[in-house]
Subunit: 601 residues, 2 copies
């Protein structure tokens, strides 16, 4: 990446003029047709449903009164066996989805489900699967202006003609030889395609990149750690969410020892939200590299950080670090839900984020100011609270990990009290509905040397259910403004599928052992379930076609949650410590990717 | 195999004493509990449903009046992507099935479909897939006496404890290094496990083998071609079905030039039926090796032959060769349906067989006497008729293949007017319901030299739809005693799934492009269809559980029919000439194995 440094200084100089626009200014933004399409409940035009990332649908033809009659309308194999972590899009009469590696992309005309309208099979670097930490998943395609935008495991970005599947342009966003991979779904904002990068366990220094929607040319790239030029901050204007002060010069570099930042992590493999009024893109950065905290003293900014960046320039309006000096792999990439909240009698534009570290964060999305931080899983013990004044967690010293010490029973485990499974926010109930993990770990850090393209982890981890029980997941209805849990349903395995809520008062989600479920949104009561071909780590969506409401989900177990099953691993500490957690999952389900579409008779 | 020749002379000597029993004698036979279990319509205890191989069920809860309301009850991935050519068994509350390579075997307790009761993952020779001619399929497990009997692609036979999946014994039936593989489902007769061998395109000389159900020790082995000792015939007593005379000495050897018989084919990879009264096992032998007829002058007996063998000794009661000197790869392995027929006012115990060569054969199953031979596909042109007196086809000389000549438009193609997809016989209507192929070929033979473990084909074949149309398959209702077709439904692709008929007056089957269908048995009218995850080359079965009727089918496209899709081949002449035939199939379906179970709401 060093060869592009000069170019970046140039781009930053260009960006500086844009950055003169106050980051809080209200500017008209978004991809106008995409934004309106995503507001049409008959379609599902964005990975998270809309720019707010709320995964809520106004459809109500399927509702609590009839969902028990739900049945499978049609199905389609993805053509791959490994974990399916994404969701289809529905735009007009067309349904699109992407499989796990080797990243097949399919288009189906909903008027002709007997056929595959087109299939795109990318020419993919065979090295990529060997440097993917946590199964060879993909989280879906994006749509804009007649194009389908695709990321592939080998870090390529493709724009396809949505009608034909023909490649319009290709960009190369990284290099698997350096341990870089891509699993995230792009976000389209105006004429830009926003994509992230994976590889936090390979010493990859994360970045978010914007490509031109029409040409595929890189417009801006913002690293999570490094120089001010690299991370696209304005030292005088970019706000530190925790202190509500400008971040100042070298805000990242000064929190690292020597050149540690070059392997500093902060990858960007989660979901991205966007506020068209503020023209800000929201996303989280991942864990710092390595997992051995003693090897990288300091806060390791801006790893495990929520960023708000100007969509046009990439310059950060603000940054809020959740887990300074992350010593637990509390990778902060989980999605942001943008909704207004009632705070002290006022309506505040907020952002809700359930972090891997087990805290729900409610921030003023204009400034990054912390409004609430609450445990959303009762097992959380690494920090007793998050100080609303300093914005920093009150870490329990007994749970601080150290080189060559096996620190026991830290909750949550590295996989997080929630991982990437995106949550839903229902604007009617003002509650969040989330699939969560109820898991803890023992964590022994050790010294590790970097070698390009090889794992750079530095910890032996062993995960297990919280309370040593048989509950590894919980689906919860949660108030992010108060930190109160309205209801919680226990699952045997991690609830690793992103819930969908609808105006039919239903929560749809899937379980790791293969149940597709509909819950009563008001109390979590099970109304319907179907045993899918495989475990579910995908995220249901809903759409209307021909006057009927459909619910579609990708089934296909895998991901980090089921890495033992996906990769045939058997030792508990393999798969970054996750194998022992779901050893019994093989007694319940098999690998195999299938799109399953439901409707009423 | 030469090392075992001495042993075989010994075994033949032992057998000779059994052979003293007249082959037509009526002896009590069968695996008594298995036979009664297979007669219970609530279960499906044998691959073809019962010893008669009729794939008919007396269940009628699902019927023409309500089948349109059918819905998917539950599903389960097979954990493999390639073609699923078999079917589940249901014995008591347990459902068992086997996937394509690597041949996973699953048991599911129908009271606990949320779980896999047990899974068996064999340690399998990785060479096997590379010598499998026609995808890495498997046609299912067998059950008897608390054991599940399993064949794997690398020719191993396993007896598993049906309750636990624990291996009770293992037998090795061949050697992939010699091009030998196994794809067939075993048949259990009394205390014997009957298994065949594949590899007709690798110069394999076929044999049927009986293993002791309790110990796995080999009891008898009957080659299809070779010496009288090898082929287990009694020259004075074994009847040639065509002539109704004893076969005489060296009935096979004298129909081959020199040592050609050693590479003589006649593999045994189809289905097996059994008549407990006659104590005879019925099955067909495959094509002679090579596909170049000029390299092997003579009738090449007993390739492409229906055998009736004594279950205890393996000695042949009779043998009827359908395609002497097969010059078209009209492999004769298709299944035999055993039913009584009204012939000239008398009730005759008959056997019906739809051969690859496009003729339906009705034989007296006591003697192998030919009673009727009729074209079941209108395109058949390689022979104008089969002479009922001589039992031999009247071959059209223009369709006789020759070395270095491209003989055009031969019907059916080598894949056959029907391949292994097993047919159904409804004792009520006395009709056969078959999925058939409507395909032709150009065929150019050439000289080929044998090399152990390498293809020994000797022909370039190119298949295409009959009449150069867009119909490649037909589902037909057919009277084997008269040769009359009652109705025929056209399909775009080969109808490569074995129909199931029921007392609900329904024909269930699946299409290569993924439709699972229910037809009105009386007229072929489509009553219900469901778009399955993948194309269907498996065979639906039915059972009762908890007072409800279920229909189960393995979906997962592949096999020879879809070899291009299965193996990623693109040239029309690849895949033994079959690739061009279904090139457009990729526009309709994807690889991926799933068990789909249907029931009424």
């Amino acid at each position: 990446m060093k060869g592009t440094r000069g170019l970046w200084f140039f781009i930053l100089a260009v960006c500086a003029s844009f950055a003169m626009t106050p980051p809080f200014a209200f500017a008209q933004g978004g991809n106008a047709s995409l934004e309106s399409t995503s507001q049409d409940p008959n379609q599902w035009a964005m990975p998270l449903g809309n720019y707010s990332g709320n995964r809520h649908s106004k459809l109500n033809q399927i509702n609590t009164g009839n969902v028990s009659k739900l049945q499978v309308a049609w199905t389609m194999s993805t053509g791959t066996l490994r974990g399916q972590e994404g969701q289809p899009l529905v735009v007009g009469d067309m349904l699109y989805f992407e499989s796990s590696y080797p990243n097949y992309v399919y288009a189906v005309d909903l008027n002709h489900i007997e056929k595959i309208a087109w299939k795109f099979a990318p020419d993919i670097d065979k090295l990529a699967p060997s440097v993917a930490c946590c199964d060879v998943v993909n989280r879906g395609v994006a749509y804009a202006n007649g194009k389908i935008l695709v990321t592939t495991l080998d870090t390529k970005v493709y724009a396809l003609d949505a009608k034909t599947g023909k490649v319009l342009w290709t960009a190369v966003n990284g290099d698997p030889k350096l341990g870089q991979t891509t699993t995230d779904a792009p976000l389209i904002v105006k004429d830009k395609v926003i994509v992230g990068i994976s590889g936090g366990e390979y010493g990859v220094r994360g970045y978010l990149t914007a490509y031109d929607l029409n040409t595929g040319k890189q417009v801006w790239r913002a690293y999570s750690v490094g120089s001010d030029a690299d991370i696209l901050v304005d030292p005088a204007k970019t706000i530190d969410g925790a202190t509500q002060q400008p971040v100042g010069a070298n805000s990242s570099l000064k929190t690292w020892q020597g050149d540690d930042w070059k392997l500093g992590g902060g990858t960007t493999w989660g979901w991205y939200s966007y506020d068209p009024q503020l023209n800000l893109i929201y996303y989280g950065s991942g864990n710092p590299g390595t997992w051995n905290p003693d090897q990288r003293p300091g806060d390791n900014k801006w790893s495990t950080t929520i960023f708000a960046r100007n969509a046009d320039t990439g310059v950060a309006a603000w940054a809020y670090q959740m887990t300074p000096h992350d010593a637990w792999d509390y990778d902060g990439i989980n999605e942001m839900v943008l909704e207004d909240s009632q705070i002290g009698g006022s309506t505040v534009p907020t952002l809700a984020h359930f972090d891997r570290n087990g805290y729900s964060y409610l921030l003023d999305r204009r400034s990054g100011k912390l409004l609430n931080a609450s445990k959303f899983d009762p097992s959380v013990n690494w920090a007793n609270s998050v100080d609303l004044k300093t914005g920093r967690p009150n870490v329990d010293p007994a749970k601080m990990t150290k080189s060559d010490v096996n620190v026991k029973n830290i909750c949550p485990a590295a996989m997080g009290a929630k991982n990437m499974q995106p949550m839903s926010y229902d604007p009617r109930t003002k509650l969040i509905y989330a699939g969560t993990n109820h898991i803890c770990m023992d964590y022994q850090a050790f010294s590790v040397k970097y070698k390009s393209g090889f794992p750079y982890v530095g910890a032996i981890v062993n995960m297990f259910p919280a309370d040593n029980g048989d509950v590894r997941g919980r689906v919860i209805a949660f108030d992010a403004t108060t930190g109160q849990t309205k209801w919680a349903n226990n699952d045997t395995f991690q609830a690793y599928s992103g819930p969908l809520t609808t105006d039919g008062n239903i929560v749809f989600y899937g379980t790791l052992d293969g149940w597709f479920r509909a819950l009563d949104e008001s109390n979590g009561k099970l109304l319907y379930q179907f045993k899918a071909p495989s475990g579910i780590i995908g995220n249901p969506i809903t759409y209307m076609h021909g006057g009927k409401q459909y619910v579609a989900v990708l089934t296909g177990v895998g991901g980090w949650a089921a890495i033992g099953l996906a990769e045939g691993l058997t030792k508990g500490t393999e798969g970054l410590g996750a194998v022992g957690l779901t050893r019994s999952l093989a007694d319940y389900t098999n690998l195999g990717g299938t799109l399953v579409v439901f409707t009423l008779p």
